[in-house]
């Protein structure tokens, strides 16, 4: 739903740093608990990058698996939901990975 706005932010961040130079590759980190869909970002990227330094750049998306930590027994487990119960029965868990939305790097021509 919000991926077009997110992609505009990505293009704007990379453009600011490219300062007019052509960009060959953009690398993103997107956590799988972030509510942002990588496929939707890929679709939007082609539209948003037109006429910018990022046009035709290869978009690399590193998906980061979600992990949660139980605040009661400290156990860390993988998760695909932003909430969930722990083996110990507690629902007091906090995501410690998977909420990333980051522009990692760019490669210039």
């Amino acid at each position: 739903m919000h991926e077009m706005g997110i992609t505009r932010n990505i293009v704007s961040i990379v453009s600011e740093h490219a300062k007019g130079a052509q960009v060959k590759r953009v690398s993103l980190e997107i956590g799988n608990l972030s509510t942002v869909m990588p496929d939707a970002i890929r679709f939007c990227f082609d539209v948003c990058s037109k006429g910018t330094e990022l046009e035709n750049a290869h978009l690399e998306i590193i998906e980061i698996a979600g992990r949660k930590k139980c605040q009661d027994c400290q156990l860390i487990t993988e998760t695909d939901q932003v909430f969930g119960s722990c083996e110990c029965g507690s629902w007091n868990t906090t995501p410690i990975a998977g909420e990333e939305l980051r522009v990692k790097e760019m490669e210039m021509v």
Binding site: I13, K24, F83, S85, L101, R102, V103, M108
Partner: protein, 279 residues
């Protein structure tokens, strides 16, 4: 430009003051450079300080950026938050799906508490001035932000709203977000708390279906309890679902139409204002 979906070239976000009819268009592409006129400390050059310099970490033609995609919004939100704190202003971000009764809850709250708490309202909707007009009828100062096709408010829109409203010290700024249980969870506005409103005419499993929003909220208001005899809504199960998603969430059950249960919500609001003033 649409802030979210990219469609609708003629649907730029705009802010309208219903008392004067003044319309200000909000160009989010210029958000980091705009001039604030409200009296808070901030650093317009902040982004520049953190920009990449050619000597920064880079390898060949690869440049390491490590930039948060929502950094611009988060920075403006933090500025808003600091200003609210300095002025002892309680800012709440009211979020829900459309039709949960946010505006009715605001109307009632303002009318019942206006002698104790000065309220100001920032109304967010894709289109129309309807909600701002309803709030204005209570005598409360309000601005309407129309997001066009955008499905949430962003921190910059709130900054413009503050500029227009000029809220006094020790007041409460109520931000009624666009009716949507997904996108507003991702965008910090600088509020003290998000308050999620869920009406009993919706499903009691909404906290599980939209966990990000219920996780991001400190308070859940279960509204329209006067309709409980007529709907299949399991109150206990709903609270249980909300606590699974967010064990710390506080729950108030009320009817904004009849006023039933409002006292505990009002008590919480008054407490927040007092704790802002004494902290």
């Amino acid at each position: 430009m649409c802030t979210t979906c990219g469609c609708g070239e003629n649907s730029e976000p705009k802010m309208i003051d219903p008392s004067t009819g003044k319309v200000v268009s909000i160009d989010l592409t210029k958000s980091q450079d705009h001039e604030y006129t409200h009296p808070h400390d901030h650093d317009h050059g902040h982004y520049r300080h953190h920009q990449f310099h050619p000597s920064d970490a880079s390898s060949g033609n690869t440049v390491s950026l490590e930039k948060e995609i929502l950094a611009k919004n988060n920075l403006i939100a933090e500025r808003n938050r600091k200003w609210f704190q300095t002025e002892n202003i309680l800012a709440l971000n009211l979020v829900s799906s459309p039709g949960s009764g946010k505006t009715t809850l605001l109307e009632r709250t303002i009318l019942d508490l206006r002698k104790q708490i000065p309220f100001m309202v920032i109304e967010g909707d894709q289109e129309t001035m309807n909600d701002a007009e309803r709030i204005r009828a209570t005598g409360c100062k309000v601005v309407q932000v129309n997001t066009g096709t955008g499905c949430h408010l962003e921190a910059d829109m709130v900054a413009r709203g503050i500029e227009e409203l000029q809220p006094p010290k020790n007041s409460a700024v109520m931000i009624e977000n666009v009716g949507n249980l997904v996108c507003p969870a991702l965008f910090d506005l600088g509020e003290k708390s998000k308050v999620v409103i869920l009406s009993v005419t919706e499903g009691d499993d909404k906290p599980l279906k939209y966990p990000h929003m219920f996780r991001a909220s400190d308070i859940m208001i279960l509204n329209k309890i006067d309709l409980l005899p007529h709907v299949q809504f399991d109150m206990e199960k709903c609270v249980q679902h909300a606590r699974q998603v967010n064990p710390d969430i506080r729950v108030f059950q009320l009817s904004a139409t009849t006023g039933e249960g409002s006292d505990i919500w009002y008590h919480w609001l008054r407490q927040q204002i007092v704790s802002m003033a004494t902290s």
